[in-house]
Symmetry: C2
Subunit: 189 residues, 2 copies
DNA sequence: ATTACTTTTAGTACCAAGTCATAAATGATG
DNA sequence: CATCATTTATGACTTGGTACTAAAAGTAAT
């Protein structure tokens, strides 16, 4: 039996979201209605036509490529920042961060967040990590939110700046690291 | 003056690669030739029409999403592995690894390669990094190939296994790290 | 059952951005 | 000037639509 209008529209929306590369004609066959009905549905649901859908997916991809380079620069989201003093960032552990077998976050993601933050907190065009001592205090699981706190400490004898980063999940410490940073004015290159 | 055919086709190819969302009409205006000429050019160069180009970019995006989750587990490519003894991995530094402004690799990528290798070299279902001392010895640039070498050392008093990882570009050391690893049999969970 | 209203289908004209094929105009070169 | 490559023009057809109008079918209420 053919479904009701509301039900059909619900499924239509899902179907298009799941497989955006589908024509009205194919949809009409699937739902056993005329092309016109599909088009009426799309209008009511404000779903754009095939070509526009494809285009928007493609544009997204185009932006991703640009964005991947930009966003990659900062791991986690900086929520508080006082240049050359302190900074805080949060990162939610998702599927992409954990070991595929167990759901424990891979160390380098925790590290990346901390390292990024150490770079971001410094008021320099480009700061580089020269050395660091780190410690993973406890495992972080998928779904947990890691809050990393960076504090800028003294300069070392060699002109490096020390940034201390501690990461927490619900106020429980999961990571600690001391980052010795080169700053752009004393580049090693 | 209008360019020669060969020159125009060379530029056309470039242009389309760079901005695939461009119509023949727009191209015709840019190169000051008729639409038909552009179409002849596309045929000779085997460049598909706008809609096909958009579609292929969109499909690429669709695959990327799946891929991103799988590849993430191993950073770099393991080329030699003797379990519980030593391992070697290589990683080519690409655009996705460097700071957008300068072309210097971000520390956490170098770290990720080393950390991954430290995990991989241990003959355990799941090894976790507990602690590590690392040092970035010199900057790594885009295009360089980083070879990471891991050696399994002694157990510590606390049952941790120490893995020493040193990374090189053309036999010049760029990174060194000592990783203290938990092994699955003495899980901390 | 008749009326009223919603939902669906049909049909036409039109559009963008092409393909395919044929023919004519233009340019360069021996 | 003849000849060949290159460019332009023209028309018919294609896909996957939009926009609009009109008719048919289904559903509910009086």
């Amino acid at each position: 039996m053919r479904k009701t209008k509301a039900e059909r529209q619900r499924l239509l929306k899902e179907t298009i979201e799941y497989t955006p590369f589908i024509t009205d004609e194919e949809l009409a066959k699937i739902f056993e209605v005329s092309i016109q009905t599909i088009r009426l549905d799309r209008m009511e649901l404000k779903i754009p036509e095939l070509r526009e859908r494809i285009k928007s997916v493609a544009k997204l991809q185009w932006n991703e490529q640009v964005r991947a380079l930009a966003v990659e620069d900062i791991v986690g989201e900086v929520v508080d920042l006082e240049l050359d003093k302190k900074a805080i960032s949060i990162m939610d552990i998702g599927r992409e961060h954990v070991f595929t077998k167990k759901n424990i976050a891979r160390g380098h993601h925790i590290f990346a967040q901390a390292n990024s933050l150490a770079v971001a907190v410094l008021n320099d065009e480009l700061a580089l990590t020269a050395k660091s001592n780190i410690r993973f205090i406890r495992q972080v699981k998928q779904g947990e939110r890691v809050v990393a706190k960076a504090v800028v400490k003294k300069q070392t004898d060699k002109g490096l700046t020390i940034v201390q980063v501690d990461s927490f999940v619900n106020n429980e410490q999961v990571f600690t690291g001391e980052f010795h940073m080169y700053r752009s004015r004393d580049s090693i290159d």
